[in-house]
Symmetry: C2
Subunit: 463 residues, 2 copies
């Protein structure tokens, strides 16, 4: 089938203006081209279509196009469309506000917490999108349920119950645009309930601390050690909730010890507080048994928050909250108020992806890749930097390397950068606690050879 | 290629527990099935994979599976996978909080402002998704620019400049999750700048009024007549901004008169106020020339807000703001704070869809369909309800029918509902102004025959 392309162009003729229509048409096209509204290379409507649109004779439009061709504003080749002439200028560079840093100037970027885009299962994801779009249901395309389509929440609950040991139900899930929005939604709901402050791990991802603060809640930093959050400090803190990463503390990599898991749930039950559980990369574990969620133990006291940002890709922006029964309606109402709901097609594609076992397949495959990279990183650190303590190696997509006590994170990061190695200091994630200077090394996006070379260079910098 | 499916299941064995491992495995599987964590029909991992995962001998896992098969917890047929036995229970019905109303009980639903899902260009949209996923760029999958990928903003600016007469630049666009989020982002930014109140049209979509109020801003209702917003009332209102629908007032369908367009921009320039322009269904116009945006006339005083909810489908949740230079960084920062950015794949797919001229094609096709439906509705109203005044017929996806002064909207809506006709009262969109009772009749989702029958029934109700 040959498809006729008839681009839309905003033109408006004034029949009472006393200016001939052809002159008006030419003038408006000229002005639109000169002013940049019509960019070089843009295709104009055919003379037939434009004449019909504007209620003009076709001859008049032909004459106007010929005039502009003669003036050099337009180009046409026999058999092809009429287009705006000239070469396209470079689009103005966007200023980076709320933007990613510019494309990597680093050859060895140890960014933590980002999976490898090259491992993204593009074909399987596209299949899920195709299957969803082929569904005859109008619900796929209309105004969404603000919590996400029921079908998507049902599939998600089944997956989380099976793999993460949750006690999730579709009607207590609110899907959202990534983890950060979920954390803000819960924080807003707590704020409305009169909660003044929320306990956070110290260190804790700086962006998450900022997200909580942006809702008007205060944060109370609670120290973290090798066994995770020091729960006994919650008792006197006055916090009405706590935000924890029990399966894999960020950034230290500690696992919340069994007695502390019990203690945090006991604290929540005694004080009526809420536990917000960030299950951010629980699916990636290498040397230890999987750790189920706190939510599965106390679904009425725990909010589980998760996303596909570590397992699949951050750009998908698919996230969720598994909520206690009494909190689910409030959070759903806030989600509706904020944006009416996240894109339903993506949520349904994720459900299809889960239901077909594609995530299981993907995790089995990528877990092997990441384990190899982790091994390469640990081996390289042992060889080139044997004196430094390495933490959090058993799981996740990053580990932490403690520097010698006198070292300056800032200087090390800057010096490594000069050798095209990007590493990340931990200090930015600390609130009150002073810990040893340390670096976060993510191995999600680097191959084994790059990891080895990056560590060699880092060792040279530290020497 | 035969793909082996190995679903993930959370199981955790305790080697020091004094309980035989096989008994632990059986017990945990039994408990997971009884408790609903493993739903009927769920496939278990193969014995080989599970044995490797748990560090057990394969024989032990086979024995455990056989025991559970014998007990009826599992089923297996030769050559296929082992699954959890039993029939799946109905998933609990979700309670409708922030949710769409239950699937239509109405045969004739005149819901305004919703396009026909059957007209959605599924194939072309899928092609755009495929093209984006085929791109080798990592940027497609990593953490997004909170404003949307530059490529998407560039394509959007070019489209809006060409078709809507804007003066848009990629670096002043913030893409977001639909129109409502955009309106809230701008309202939040104004609130932070010390603006106390924003003028709104009266009537104005109730959801938009609520979205503004939710940010802490007050609203000042300004009356609307046949020529749109009564701009002279802004002067004494004290509003620091105004929210308008100049191309097609919602819900009355009025077009903002030329002298009022000039007046509102003049007011904004004199007082330093901001104009928020909702361009919600400007692409659908039938009997009049297109009307360019206010933003194109005063890009430093006007925020243009738009989405694909009317042109393509609300479920896509692709929206945008075209902002003045000084406001763009603030709004981008708020967007980053709220959710780090909307799904990049959808935004890039929309850009590809624009660049390939697919939206132009789609609009030309659907405009004809909607025009026919509009004609059917107008004809039916003339025939069956000749006494009622009809407004806003020249454009959009709905029109407004004024009832006789004594009529009760609520009663008419309820009575029509009893005849399976769903119509919508306008009163809910009024703030202060008392106008005549009226109905909103959307024709986006109904074919011509359904429209005729719906109006016939409505006339019977009103008789």
């Amino acid at each position: 089938m040959r498809r006729t392309t008839s681009p839309e162009v905003l033109l408006r003729l004034h029949r009472q203006a006393g200016v001939p229509l052809r002159a008006q048409l030419e003038g408006q096209l000229r002005e639109a081209i000169r002013g940049g509204r019509l960019r070089p290379g843009v295709q104009l409507p055919s003379t037939r279509v434009l004449a019909a649109d504007l209620g003009l004779s076709r001859g008049l439009v032909v004459a106007a196009y010929e005039q502009l061709l003669a003036e050099g504003y337009l180009t046409a080749h026999s058999g092809s469309a009429t287009r705006v002439a000239g070469r396209e200028a470079e689009p103005a560079r966007a200023t980076a506000v709320g933007a990613e840093p510019a494309p990597p100037q680093w050859r060895y970027d140890f960014r933590p917490g980002v999976p490898d885009a090259a491992l993204f299962p593009r074909r399987a994801w596209l299949t899920s999108l195709r299957r969803v779009l082929a569904s005859p249901s109008d619900a796929v395309l209309g105004y969404p349920d603000a919590r996400g389509p029921e079908q998507a929440r049902t599939a998600l609950a089944a997956y989380l119950n099976r793999v993460r040991g949750t006690a999730a139900r579709a009607d207590r899930i609110v899907m959202c645009t990534g983890f950060t929005q979920g954390l803000r939604l819960v924080s807003r709901a707590l704020h409305r309930r009169g909660v003044a402050a929320i306990g956070i791990e110290d260190p804790c991802h700086a962006a998450h601390r900022a997200a909580i603060l942006s809702t008007g809640l205060e944060v109370i930093p609670i120290p973290v050690d090798d066994r995770g959050l020091r729960v006994e400090r919650l008792e006197s803190s006055g916090a009405g909730a706590v935000f924890v990463t029990p399966a894999h503390q960020y950034p230290t990599g500690a696992v919340l010890a069994p007695e502390r898991r019990a203690a945090v749930l006991d604290w929540a039950a005694r004080t009526g507080a809420l536990v917000i559980e960030d299950d951010y990369d629980a699916e990636y574990r290498y040397d230890r048994e999987p750790i189920g969620t706190l939510q599965g133990l106390a679904p009425d006291r725990v909010v589980l928050a998760g996303s596909v940002s570590k397992t699949l890709a951050p750009a998908l922006r698919v996230g969720w909250l598994v909520l206690p029964a009494d909190l689910a309606p409030e959070v759903a109402a806030l989600k509706y108020e904020e944006d009416l709901g996240s894109p339903a097609l993506d949520q349904l594609a994720y459900a299809d992806f889960l239901d077909r076992g594609e995530l299981d397949r993907h995790l089995r495959r990528t877990r092997l890749s990441y384990r190899r990279r982790r091994d390469s990183l640990v081996t390289a650190l042992q060889r080139h930097l044997p004196g430094l303590r390495v933490r959090g190696v058993a799981a996740g997509l990053h580990l932490m390397v403690e520097l010698s006590p006198g070292a300056s994170e800032t200087e090390v990061v800057a010096a490594a950068g000069r050798h095209s190695v990007r590493v990340y200091g931990v200090q930015t994630h600390r609130a009150r606690e002073q810990g040893p200077p340390a670096l976060l090394l993510g191995y999600g996006r680097l191959g084994s050879a790059a990891i080895a070379e990056g560590v060699t260079r880092l060792a040279a910098v530290l020497a």
